[in-house]
């Protein structure tokens, strides 16, 4: 139990998916202009990463391993993730339309978020069991949510700052992301 808690905590803070592992940079830069949408995207990604981790584990261990098709993991996982995202989209549209309209445009983007495929492949590489995989997926998603939320907070303030024209948009977001990463690396040293 303590092990799993440590695993989760380290995935959120110390080995943060965005700042340390560089997964999910595209949505991190692309959807972080406003706090509201950033949080929406973060929640959707966390949700997808948790379910994707829980689903890819049995697919790998009960289908690919017995058939000795481990080398097809990338293809199998990305297909599974694409179907999962499609399914989540349809489910939300039918049952929680308010959340669906809030996340609407970001949902299809999640398929090509490398954090989702990344966590599925990492679970296999690290040899996690089912519970560890699911918890790791959830925690890594929370780490992404934290990162995109913090960057969106900063970018909302930057909107009003007089920065050089060439730095507007993505460059200043990258610089702000770098400073956040610096802060997060401090956590790693002190622990």
């Amino acid at each position: 139990m303590a092990n799993i808690l440590m695993l989760a905590l380290s995935a959120i803070l110390i080995e943060n998916f965005v700042f340390v592992k560089f997964y999910g940079i595209c949505p991190f830069l692309g959807v972080s202009q406003k706090v509201e949408t950033a949080v929406g995207m973060g929640l959707a990604v966390t949700f997808t990463m948790t379910i994707a981790s829980a689903l890819t584990w049995p697919v790998y261990h009960f289908i690919l391993v017995p058939l000795e098709l481990e080398y097809l993991e990338t293809i199998a996982f990305i297909l599974l993730i694409a179907c999962l995202v499609q399914f989540i989209e349809m489910f939300l549209q039918k049952s929680i339309p308010s959340l669906y309209s809030a996340l609407g445009i970001y949902l299809p983007l999640i398929t090509t978020n490398c954090a989702v495929l990344g966590v599925a492949l990492l679970n296999v590489q690290e040899g996690f069991n089912f519970i560890e995989s699911t918890v790791y997926g959830f925690a890594a998603g929370l780490g992404f949510l934290l990162a995109i939320f913090l960057l969106a907070l900063i970018r909302e303030r930057i909107e009003f700052a007089r920065i050089p024209k060439s730095f507007r948009g993505v460059p200043i977001a990258l610089i702000a992301g770098g400073l956040l990463a610096l802060a997060f690396s401090g956590l790693r040293i002190s622990l």
């Binding site: 595209c26 080398y71 990338t74 730095f167």
Partner: protein, 208 residues
């Protein structure tokens, strides 16, 4: 998909290397750019892997563009791309295991590199096989050149070496921060701003 008149080879190369450079102008494929640009060798390896996948996926998708139903085209593209990525992954593990281990998960993650899907959707699905192949080559080379520039700066400042060979005098104590994730963010941000500044100067010149 409406068929468009293919641009000339020269235009395609100009687009890929300069005007619409995947990293500096289109800002695509940032994850792998930031993660693996710690040494020039990694940059070249990643760039060429992406180029290989991009050429083949562009060619393949262009050949089958009329057979793929438009409703499930994105899923079809992803499966085609994932197939070629698996090929690259296995080739690297078999022949250059050291590179495969230093690039790690970012080789399989080429599947979700937005650059490849973007070229499939915006070029290969609207043009014939030959221009699509050239476009894959040009965009891939543009990606590689940009990666090499970023990783050369990071390796030189952070390690004092280029391609593993000591370039700066021993008196230079390397700025390790540049190799760390923090340096990746800061240097890429500064480089994109620099490119934007040059582009703005050019535009001003054109307007007189």
């Amino acid at each position: 998909m409406s068929e468009k008149k293919p641009p000339s080879v020269k235009e395609i190369f100009r687009d890929g290397l300069l005007d619409r450079n995947p990293i500096f102008v289109q800002l695509l494929g940032m994850c792998s750019t930031l993660a693996i640009s710690t040494s020039v060798l990694n940059g070249i390896g990643m760039g060429l892997s992406v180029t290989f996948v991009l050429i083949l996926s562009n060619l393949f998708i262009s050949v089958f563009r009329k057979a793929i139903p438009s409703k499930i085209r994105i899923a079809s593209y992803i499966v085609i791309i994932a197939g070629f990525v698996t090929v690259v992954d296995m080739l690297l593990q078999a022949f250059i295991p050291s590179l495969a281990s230093s690039l790690g998960l970012f080789i399989p993650l080429i599947v979700v590199n937005c650059l490849i899907l973007a070229r499939a959707e915006s070029f290969a699905s609207r043009h014939g096989p030959l221009p699509s192949l050239v476009d894959g080559l040009a965009m891939g080379l543009g990606y590689t050149v940009a990666l090499v520039i970023i990783s050369a700066i990071r390796e030189l400042l952070g390690n004092g070496t280029l391609l593993g060979i000591r370039v700066l005098p021993d008196a230079y104590s390397p700025a390790v921060l540049v190799i760390s994730p923090v340096g990746g963010f800061l240097i890429l941000g500064a480089l994109i701003a620099l490119v934007e500044w040059i582009r703005r100067l050019q535009r001003k010149k054109k307007e007189g």
